[in-house]
Structure formats: structure tokens, C-alpha cells
Symmetry: C2
Subunit: 182 residues, 2 copies
DNA sequence: GAAAGCATGTAAGATGTTACATGATTCG
DNA sequence: CGAATCATGTAACATCTTACATGCTTTC
């Protein structure tokens, strides 16, 4: 049982889903490819943490819809109480920023402008899901007992991170531009 | 040549260092264990991107001090111009936050309080390095041509991220506490 | 005397990515 | 007609972590 396994278990605990669907749902919070997810789901099913029913579809390929078992739910609750691993960041831009002096000013600016665009796309994605949710629920699910509370705080987390990254990039670009103006 | 290799190359390009030292320097920006770094340095040296001199020390074990070669510097500059990979986040707390409804309120609060402590430690680390640098340089190296400019923007990046994460956790804790007050 | 820091390495195993493989449907 | 989406899987490879291995010095 690794973190990804618990992540899948957590998703399935709320809404029974297919592997394909789990992959998409997980994307914004934990990047995993389908080639990692499918074998893991099979393993979790074999070990009794999940079970699946084959759902026939006429317009689309058939799918396996996984749902959590009692054993899975117990494991999930135990995991929540265990100490949380420290977050891992792997951002190539950070390493490139360290070497800024080796490039010309235009390429340096491009690095940060590229990142701003990426963050804006991500932020719009988070905001889009958020506004869809708010429309559906007719307001923010800002109460811990609301079933969409965790979605709400996670979307807020994503949006905040992107916003902060953009601000940092803009701050750096500003310093770089001041030099140009000299 | 992977991202970690370029990261090491970037560090070495500025200051020739031992593997042990590189590991420590890299920690805040790219988590890698010594067991990954040492073999990679050996490979980079064999392929001519770096070279090393064995430095004898009386009080401590001898060390291999790596420095960049011309080939290494060319590779590094090419890498800077290549498209930057999207950042990867692997944060167990995010996955746990999704399952908040499965726990009691105390454990939920503990999750975020733990994270706040972690972020505060990290933030103090970044701020400590920053203030040491400011003392040494007698001011902020906020000009792109200053040799410590990249350190300055990276430390700022670290501090900002930690600050923002703390604010998010506090916001969540606040929502959780409001429920308690009912 | 034990623990922590400095210093380098290897081996085994876990985790993650890219490529290979298939096949239906929908949209432009 | 080609590309994208839905849907599931395997194989090979790259990357990262944990454990094994050694040994000296300083600090508590």
C-alpha cells in the first residue's frame, strides 16, 4: 500500500469509478499515468481493498467500475491517522532559475513567461471546476460537513498555488525588466 | 542526461563542490538522496561533463571536488533553452484532505496543524539563508547581474510557497473551527 | 559512550514514465 | 479521413528510496 493506492482508495470511497475516470480525477492532485493505475487497481482488488463490476456500455467501451470494500475503508481510516509524508517538489524551472546567469536576458524572460502561461491555464482549470460546483450547489460548500467540502478546499489549494507562482514569476520578470531599462 | 544531472551541473558550474555538499545544496529545491547523486556524478565525470580532484582533508574524510568542463557548460546552456517540463507535486496531505469526512474533527485539525509546523520550519530555513546572504552582501542582490541573484529569487520562491501553504492551512483550520463553535 | 556530521559508495526494491497494443465512437 | 476521447492493459526502461557498508571526527 503506497500513497497512490490510498489516493485511489479515497476517490473510490466517495464515488465508485472506472480506472480511466480515476486517472482523470486524480490528475490535478497526483500525477499518475494509466499504466500505473490499472495494475494497481487490479492489485487492490485482488487484496480485497476494492471490488469491481463490469459495466456494459453501448456507445463506449465497457468499463470496470471499482468501489471500496470494508477492508478498504478500514485501511483508509488508518492511513489518515498515520504521519503524513513531507511533500516532494520536482520543478525543472527552479533548477533552471539557478543557472540564469548562463543565458541571455530574452531566454531568461521566456522561462518565466512560459511558466506564467502554464499556471494561468491550471488556475483557469481549478476556477472552472470551482464555478461549476458553485453553480450546482448554489454557493460555496464552506462547511466541513458538506459532502463537497474537501473538493472545495482542494480547488482553493490549487488556485492559490497557481496564483502565488504567477506572482513570483511576475516579480522575477519585473527585476529582469528593470535591468533592461537601464 | 536527466533533470537531476542538469541540476548538479548547474550547482557545480557556479561552485565546484563534493557530492555530499551538492546533496545538501540541492535539498531545498530538488530532493535527491546521496545514493542517487554519487553514481550520477561518476557517470557525468565519465562522459566528460564534469571532472574532479581528490582533496585531502586531515580532520575529515577526503573528498572529490567536482567542477564543470567545457562540454558540461555547453550542455547546460542547451538545456536552458529547451522547453521546461511541467512541475510535479506529490503531496500526501492533498490526498488525505480529500478523505476528510472519514475522520473525526480532531484528527482533521491535526493534519493541517502538522503541515503548518513543517512549513514554518522550512520557511525559517529559507529566511535564515536569506538573512545570512543579506548580511554578507550588505543588502538584497536584487539585480540580475549580481552573482547571488538566482539564490535570491529561489529563496524568495521557497519562502513564498511556505507562507502560502501556511495561509491555506490556517484558512482550512478556520473553517473546521467554525464548525466546532456551533 | 552515543549520536550526529562528514564523506563515499553499492544493491535491492519501489515507483513512475514511455512505448507498445487494441478497438470502438464522436467530432470536425 | 484524421484526431480526440473513452477504455484497458503489458513491457521496458528510468528514476527514486531504503537498506547495507565503512570509517573518521566532533559534540553532548
Amino acid at each position: 500500500m503506497n500513497t497512490l493506492a490510498y489516493g485511489l482508495l479515497g476517490l473510490v470511497a466517495r464515488t465508485p469509478s472506472s480506472g480511466y475516470d480515476l486517472m482523470l480525477q486524480l490528475q490535478p492532485y497526483w500525477q499518475a499515468k494509466h499504466s500505473q493505475i490499472y495494475p494497481l487497481l487490479a492489485k487492490l482488488e485482488q487484496e480485497g481493498y476494492m471490488e469491481f463490476t463490469r459495466v456494459h456500455q453501448t456507445d463506449r467501451p465497457d468499463k470496470k467500475v471499482y468501489s471500496i470494500t470494508e477492508k478498504g475503508e478500514i485501511a483508509l481510516k488508518l492511513w489518515l491517522a498515520e504521519p503524513t509524508a513531507e511533500p516532494v517538489v520536482r520543478d525543472e524551472l527552479v533548477l533552471k532559475a539557478y543557472c540564469l546567469q548562463l543565458t541571455d536576458d530574452q531566454k531568461a524572460r521566456d522561462l518565466f513567461m512560459e511558466r506564467i502561461e502554464h499556471c494561468q491555464e491550471q488556475m483557469q482549470m481549478y476556477e472552472h471546476i470551482m464555478s461549476e460546483m458553485e453553480q450546482q450547489l448554489d454557493g460555496k460548500p464552506d462547511h466541513p460537513d458538506h459532502p463537497a467540502f474537501s473538493d472545495y478546499i482542494l480547488l482553493s489549494w490549487g488556485r492559490r498555488r497557481m496564483k502565488e507562482d504567477i506572482l513570483w514569476c511576475e516579480w522575477v520578470l519585473d527585476l529582469l525588466k528593470k535591468k533592461e531599462a537601464e
